[in-house]
């Protein structure tokens, strides 16, 4: 649909050289149909018109202005008198209220009266500045950063045109609107550390996300100096150019209200400033900060006593004794992730016995956990979910230890080398979520029992098992299952041809690729609950 329209628009609007060029570019764009169908509004007439006006998608900005004014003459013949300025102020205000920043900037240039209404009424109502608030009703594709990365991986780089948001445009927005929530991570390619120079205009700032923008000591100092009310700070991949410990130290001392702190993916972070971390901190993400000193995390455990969520991924600077001494101090933890840690097994074991509040534990790819550590888990009365993926060191005896954690509901035992009998375990704990992907020892009989007898289960992942799926599943679904109250959602590998199964009213099958993401991950859904927000 969009391709036809773009051709038509280009044809209509003449044959000058610029237009030819534009036509080519637009139809190039249209090749990426996935994105274009996202941008294109359904009303084709509207789409055509706005395609013309929004020529800056395809052509350089300077040309576009002349071009569009020419087009406007052709497209929209002047109608009978209809003056925006004849409308009362409150209507004008209301119209502008529902426009994006992009449209507001253009609207306020129309004339003095509109400018007065927009600056005095509309801008002060805008409190959030992020990708969405800038583009939500424009032609730009609404793609988040995470999606962009997926597209990049698939070599579809041309699909996202973004506003060229630079330090000056940020300054212009700050001078108009009272921003509380600021998320600039999506504009990381056009912003630099100099953006911090305009932060003196937003002393009320509450949430700050500058991920992927390279920051320096000075910029951190400026932020700290002008924004003392910060509560949530996201500095993912921000410190790549050098040490910023001094800047962070100032930030931590001047902003005592920080509750959420995301410093993931910063390999130049050494942690000298962690002793200044505010004691009210609830959430800390240190994933892939593998250069942080062991002493620094010791200091962190001293200062951030109220920490509820801690994510330590890919961290091997410390010995098990260190881990145990820190973890002993963080008594209020609800969510702990200590994953991707490969070390020899001749160390003592991790000790979880201090966590009275722990609800979720992620120990994927962790060689420091052994049977003794699992035994200490019975001291965690609230433990709800455990992720032990790639626990090559465990076998059936580990299940007996885990059976003592009475409150467990979500378990992920994928890629265990030795795991055969799980039925009694699931029945005993009345698990809701259970994943045993790639557990080669699991037999067809066990799977049959798991499906028919364990009625508490709501989500089961059975990818890459060494069984005949067609036979096992069709056997299991022959009988009705009257005790089951909830529908069982089941993930199985993709089969070709598709399974031929008897119809069954208590199960819902989704098929997935062997190493791809599973359609429902009980863990991602509960992980999204952390941090708990009041």
């Amino acid at each position: 649909m969009s391709e036809d329209n773009t051709k038509k628009t280009a044809m209509e609007s003449g044959t000058s050289r610029n237009l030819q060029k534009r036509k080519r570019k637009i139809s190039e764009n249209a090749v990426h149909n996935g994105i274009n169908s996202m941008i294109a509004p359904k009303e084709s007439k509207y789409w055509m018109r706005s395609m013309k006006s929004e020529s800056h998608i395809a052509v350089p900005p300077k040309k576009s202005r002349k071009q569009t004014s020419k087009n406007a003459k052709q497209v929209k013949p002047p109608e009978t008198a209809m003056l925006l300025t004849d409308l009362p102020n409150e209507i004008l205000g209301k119209i502008s209220e529902y426009l994006s920043f992009d449209d507001l900037f253009r609207l306020e240039r129309v004339n003095k009266r509109i400018r007065a209404v927009v600056t005095s009424y509309t801008w002060p109502q805008k409190h959030t500045l992020d990708h969405e608030s800038i583009i939500y009703n424009t032609m730009y594709p609404k793609i988040s950063l995470a999606e962009e990365r997926i597209y990049f991986r698939n070599q579809r780089r041309n699909c996202f045109k973004r506003h060229n948001v630079n330090d000056k445009s940020i300054k212009m927005i700050f001078s108009r609107a009272k921003i509380y929530n600021l998320d600039l991570s999506i504009y990381h390619s056009t912003l630099t550390y100099q953006v911090s120079s305009s932060f003196s205009m937003v002393p009320q700032l509450n949430v700050l996300n500058l991920s992927f923008i390279r920051l320096t000591n000075n910029s951190l100092r400026t932020i700290a100096r002008y924004c003392p009310l910060l509560e949530e700070v996201f500095f993912e991949q921000c410190f790549c150019d050098g040490k910023v410990e001094q800047g962070l130290e100032v930030l931590f001392t001047k902003c005592p209200n920080i509750k959420y702190l995301n410093l993931a993916e910063n390999n130049k972070l050494y942690g000298d400033s962690f002793s200044c971390i505010p004691s009210g901190l609830l959430y800390l993400n240190l994933a892939n900060c593998y250069n942080v000193n062991a002493n620094a995390i010791g200091a962190l455990a001293e200062s951030a006593m109220n920490l509820e969520t801690l994510i330590l991924e890919n961290y091997d600077n410390a010995a098990v004794a260190n881990f145990n001494s820190w973890l002993g101090k963080l008594k209020k933890l609800k969510y702990l992730e200590v994953s991707n840690i490969f070390m020899g097994q001749d160390y003592p074991s991790l000790d979880f016995s201090n966590f009275q509040e722990l609800e979720m534990l992620c120990l994927r790819y962790n060689t420091l956990v052994n049977a003794v550590s699992l035994k200490t888990l019975q001291h965690c009365p609230k433990l709800k979910a455990i992720d032990l993926r790639f626990g090559q060191q465990f076998d059936n005896s580990a299940l007996e230890l885990l059976q003592k954690c009475k409150s467990l509901q979500y378990c992920n035992f994928s890629n265990w080398a030795q795991l055969s009998n799980v039925v009694d375990f699931v029945k005993h704990l009345k698990l809701q979520y259970f994943a045993i992907n790639e557990c080669r020892e699991i037999s067809a009989d066990t799977v049959h029992k798991l499906l028919t007898e364990c009625v508490s289960l709501r989500y089961v992942e059975l990818l890459g098992l060494n069984i005949d799926y067609q036979k096992v599943l069709s056997n299991a679904f022959k009988q009705p299952c009257p005790q089951r109250r909830n529908i069982l959602r089941l993930a199985t590998p993709r089969a070709n041809p598709y399974y031929n199964l008897p119809s069954c009213n208590w199960v819902d099958i989704s098929t997935c690729e062997p190493y791809g993401p599973t359609p429902f991950s009980g863990f991602t859904s509960i992980r999204a609950q952390y941090p708990h927000k009041q």
């Binding site: 509004p41 359904k42 009303e43 509207y46 706005s50 006006s53 929004e54 800056h56 900005p61 576009s64 202005r65 569009t68 004014s69 406007a72 003459k73 929209k76 002047p78 109608e79 009978t80 008198a81 209809m82 003056l83 925006l84 300025t85 004849d86 409308l87 009362p88 409150e90 209507i91 209301k94 119209i95 502008s96 209220e97 529902y98 426009l99 994006s100 992009d102 449209d103 253009r106 609207l107 240039r109 129309v110 004339n111 003095k112 009266r113 509109i114 409190h127 959030t128 969405e132 939500y136 009703n137 424009t138 032609m139 506003h163 060229n164 948001v165 630079n166 000056k168 445009s169 212009m172």
Partner: protein
């Protein structure tokens, strides 16, 4: 015999007669439509309702425009009272372009649209005011300054110096 039974079973329906500015065109509406206008509703609350038909002259609204307003209100006579979108996501929850409101307003000429918004503002019909604003929003968005000026017949009243200054303000596209 049957006729009297029918008469009794029909409930008493209050009718209102609206007279447009030309003093000729009359619209007879019932309470459901009238109550959508906060102004008329308030006015009728203090009015004596013993008559079966109350006449309301509306000198400021033309016949054509009043007809459009009533057409709009008639479409919503049986739906829930209107609640305007509020909260931080208010700006995202506006109706799509294919929504009945937007299609209805799109079918009007810009003069009619302009009149209907003014009338809605005068009668305080919040659903129609909002719909009109959304429609005008759709008409302005994604357009350059020149196009907006052209569509709405606005003239830029900035002096040459100001115009230059505005033009040089750093924008992102």
């Amino acid at each position: 015999m049957t006729a009297t039974i029918e008469l009794e079973s029909v409930p008493f329906i209050q009718k209102f007669k609206l007279i447009a500015s030309d003093n000729k065109t009359e619209f007879i509406i019932d309470e459901k439509i009238l109550n959508q206008s906060a102004v008329l509703k308030e006015m009728m609350e203090i009015q004596d309702k013993s008559d079966t038909e109350i006449t309301i002259p509306l000198n400021q609204i033309s016949a054509e425009c009043l007809g459009n307003v009533i057409k709009f209100c008639k479409h919503y006579e049986d739906s829930e009272p209107y609640l305007p979108p509020i909260g931080p996501t208010a700006c995202l929850s506006r109706p799509s372009q294919s929504h009945w409101d937007m299609v209805f307003l799109k079918s009007l000429s810009s003069k009619q649209l302009f009149d209907i918004i003014n009338a809605a503002n005068f009668l305080n019909i919040s659903r129609l005011i909002d719909a009109g604003c959304f429609r005008l929003g759709y008409m302005t968005e994604n357009r350059t300054v020149e196009e907006i000026r052209r569509i709405f017949q606005e003239s830029g009243d900035f002096s040459a110096v100001e115009e230059e200054q505005i033009r040089n303000e750093p924008l992102w596209n």
